[in-house]
Amino acid sequence: MIPAILQIREVYIMNKNIILCGVGGQGTVLASKLIAAAAMKKDLPVMSAETIGMAQRGGSVFSHIRIGEGLHSPMIAKSTADVILGFEPGEAVRMLPYLKDSGQVIVSSRGIMPVTAALSGTPYQSSEMIRYLKTRTEHLLVIDTDEACRELGSSRVLNMLLLGAAIHSGALGLTDAEIKEVIKERVPEKYHKINFRALEYTHSL
């Protein structure tokens, strides 16, 4: 018989804790649903939790996604996230306490200035956030969102860009093909091409 403690460790290695964070309206919810659907196709148990309600109106939002057997809580404990997908640099910094040692951070370079910062006249510098992330994380991938959107000819593909980068980093345990399959099921056909191009974009970097 395998001692209980080893069984638990085995479970924890197989499991994935994923955090998506950004600003209300950026499309984090849809991205988290695609990840969940792709994992379910592999017969893996999935749970997630996210911000709904008042905070959606331009406030900080997050999704916690957990994949694997033997889990109870939809919420992730601090220092246990395998990967953080930051749709906004400051929001990625806000979620950093959840990242485990050697965890992966994938972040969009484009900052969104909070109204409070515009009002006080002290502009919020997203480059400072990126610099900070560089000093604090071993595995950081910054996606130049403006450049990518220009190249792709669409400003509405941020979540596909980040999702693609997360897949290619290996941190999700999912493949391009698995995500594409669920996109095909959930998104009208006329948008498949642009989403697939965005998904594959980081492959060519």
Binding site: I8, G24, G25, Q26, G27, T28, V29, L30, A36, A37, A39, M40, L44, P45, M47, A49, E50, T51, I52, G53, M54, A55, Q56, R57, G58, G59, G70, L71, H72, S73, M75, I76, A77, K78, G90, E91, V93, L96, P97, M113, P114, V115, T116, A118, L119, G121, P123, R136, R156, L158, N159, M160, I183, R186, V187, P188, K190, Y191, I194, N195
Partner: protein
């Protein structure tokens, strides 16, 4: 059976459908709204579903259905229960024939509510049984079991999930449609001795209710969802146990599986409390930690039991300061509470009684290491409420005023720079507060702001009261043709029902004129000059007068294209940023810019710019009041953020 990835609220809806529910009524409120929406979306043809005008109406509609023997469910958030409590308190004395589940979503934190009230306490007060699910799968099964208990005992029952259960998703196993049990019911049978509440009947039924709850408590001790998890060998000699329920149970068991399992008591029916099972749990223990959110319900029950049975067990929790007594538990706060309980000598951890001992050890409150900008929720770019608030603010500048707000997106009008909400209490309260202040301070110009859905839900009686009692006030209706904050539900003014029917719209102006208001102006808030003039002309008239600011929620209309700043004309005065606080107005390298991915082209900033520096690619003038608009297909507009008009990164999902 098949697997689906479902939100807790969706799971509850499917569970009710699987249980053969016949009628579902409710009023929207975070975190409960998706339950009724999912019933409407996934219902079989014989289910009736409605958004009632408020929770009291929903409770009464469901009561009538339950009198016929039909199964019914009422949905609301915790503060909605306050509105519904009048019929519910009496209904408990009358009882039901068909199963009735009262779904009340509690909101620890609170995340988006006015109070941290605990429906488990309301269960004790109203004597209703209460079911407390800890995850979506359990919620799915529990709602079906709740219907059975309700019918067996002839009482409405509470199903009381909290935010993280309501809005948590999980891949769960649900029944196929072919497995649903169709139900027949008898119909209403006249019997005045049963259905007409009189003091004598209430007395007789009170005796029955007390006896029933004793029996139900025994029954709940055998209910499989109330469960004792045994301690692992290593923890057995410790004589320490943990009790929990709801989402906190999932946090507790995950930590205990890591630290080594201790004796753990999961309570899924906090009322009536499963005493027999609780005594079994307490047997041989010396110390117990209670992990729960909101009120110390489990902790009090255990204290009571220990006292009654002279048990030498020390009970720790919120009352002793070992667990924080306000706000939401987290995976980390529970981890730390358990760590302290098991690793320190719990006896030496003296609670302060006010939760401060627990707060200081809660790692979840340690801030991120870099100073981060606050990002509170704000009114969306292009939101017509901003324009309405701004017009009233500018028109009343320099005057002694009070602006009474209400519940909805427009509560966000309190933020700087608008700063246009001086009071906010509960649904519809702004009207009464404006009257009260006016009676005491006749020289203050009193305003009450109320949204269209809130107007129908609970402001009409306030208007009648104002007219009857000769108040002097201005009522501002912010009519955006939807219930925006909770996810765009229809209401009596929208002309649509949850059954998909197109019906006669109830016209707010006609309602106000019917009550007796003679001054009722309607204006498009995005026409700044017209709005300003309207407020100036109306506010000083005597008596009760109303202005309806009518412009649809931006989430329901297509943006008309982004505005742009002409840098040659912009003087850099930043009036637009300082006075409007629109998220699309940003500073880039010291200059005012417009974020084209957020701007909807409402043109308010262009209308107030002294230098005429904001222009639209297509020159655009605001339309007249009540401008017609083309709503987007409602199926592409779910209550989450995937179709938010400010969405810059979403998959193209229109």
């Amino acid at each position: 059976m098949h697997k689906e990835f479902l939100m807790g609220n969706e799971a509850i809806a499917l569970g009710a459908i699987a249980a053969g529910v016949n009628l579902v009524s409710g009023y929207p409120g975070t975190p409960s709204s998706e339950v009724l929406e999912t019933v409407a979306k996934r219902r079989t043809s014989d289910i009736y579903v409605e958004w009632s005008v408020n929770e009291k109406a929903a409770m009464e509609v469901a009561s009538g259905a339950a009198y016929t023997g039909a199964r019914c469910m009422v949905t609301m958030k915790q503060v909605g229960l306050n509105v519904a409590s009048d019929p519910l308190m009496s209904l408990e004395y009358i009882g039901v024939k068909g199963g009735m589940v009262v779904l009340v979503a509690d909101d620890p934190g609170p995340v988006s509510s006015q109070t941290e009230q605990d429906t488990r306490c309301f269960a004790g007060f109203s004597k209703l049984p209460c079911f407390d699910p800890s995850d979506p799968q359990e919620a799915y099964e529990m709602v079906q079991e709740a219907f059975e208990y309700s019918e067996q005992y002839g009482t409405p029952v509470f199903l009381r999930p909290t935010t993280r259960v309501c809005h948590g998703y999980a891949s769960i196993t649900v029944k196929d449609e072919t497995e649903y049990q169709p139900r027949r019911f008898e119909g209403f049978v006249k019997d005045t001795g049963r259905w007409v509440i009189f003091p004598r009947l209430s007395y007789q039924n009170h005796i029955k209710i007390e006896a029933r709850n004793v029996k139900l408590a025994e029954d709940f001790s055998k209910y499989s969802r109330n469960r004792i998890y045994p301690a692992c060998e290593r923890k057995q000699q410790l004589k320490k146990g943990v009790v929990s329920g709801g989402i906190s149970f999932t946090y507790a068991i995950e930590t205990l599986e890591q630290l080594g399992m201790a004796r753990l008591f999961k309570v899924s029916t906090p009322h009536p409390f499963p005493e027999k099972l609780a005594l079994e749990f307490l047997d041989g223990l010396e110390e117990v930690l209670c992990i729960e959110e909101l009120d110390p319900v489990l902790e009090r029950e255990l204290n009571y039991l220990c006292g009654r049975h002279h048990l030498p067990v020390r009970i720790y929790g919120k009352l002793t300061g070992h667990v924080k007594n306000a706000g939401e538990n987290s995976r980390d706060s529970v981890h730390n509470d358990l760590l302290q309980f098991f690793e320190a000598d719990a006896g030496s951890v003296t609670g302060s009684g006010n939760g401060t001992a627990a707060v200081t050890k809660d790692l979840s409150v340690v801030p991120a290491p870099l100073a981060l900008p606050a990002r509170p929720p704000v009114l969306c770019a292009g939101c017509p409420h901003r324009a309405s608030f701004y017009a009233v603010k500018t028109a009343m500048k320099g005057r002694k005023t009070v602006f009474c707000g209400d519940i909805g997106c427009y509560t966000l009008g309190n933020a700087m720079p608008l700063d246009m909400v001086d009071t906010c209490l509960c649904m519809g309260a702004g009207l009464g507060i404006a009257q009260g202040i006016g009676h005491m301070e006749p020289d203050t110009a009193c305003f009450a702001f109320v949204g269209d859905s809130t107007f129908f839900a609970s402001a009409i009686t306030g208007v009648v009261n104002a007219v009857y009692n000769q108040a002097n006030m201005t009522l501002i209706i912010l009519d955006n043709s939807t219930t925006a904050m909770t996810g765009h539900q229809p209401h009596p003014g929208t002309g649509q029902t949850m059954m998909g029917e197109i019906v006669q719209k109830i016209n707010i102006e006609s309602v106000l004129r019917g009550i007796g208001l003679t001054v009722v102006e309607t204006v498009n808030p995005l026409d700044y000059q017209a709005s300003l003039k309207c407020v100036k002309q109306t506010a000083d008239k005597p008596g009760v007068k109303a202005i309806i600011f009518k412009s649809p929620c931006i989430a329901l209309t297509r943006p008309s294209g982004s505005m742009a700043v002409d840098s040659r004309k912009c003087t850099g005065c930043r009036k637009c940023i300082r006075e409007l606080g629109c998220p699309a107005l940003i500073l880039s390298e010291g200059r005012v810019c417009i974020d084209s991915s957020l701007c909807t082209g409402c043109s308010l900033c262009a209308q107030i710019c002294a230098a005429d520096a904001v222009c639209s690619p297509k020159s655009r003038t605001p339309g007249p009041a009540g401008d017609t608009f083309t709503p987007l297909d409602s199926s592409s507009c779910p209550a989450d953020d995937t179709c938010h008009p400010a969405d810059q990164g979403g998959v193209h999902n229109e």
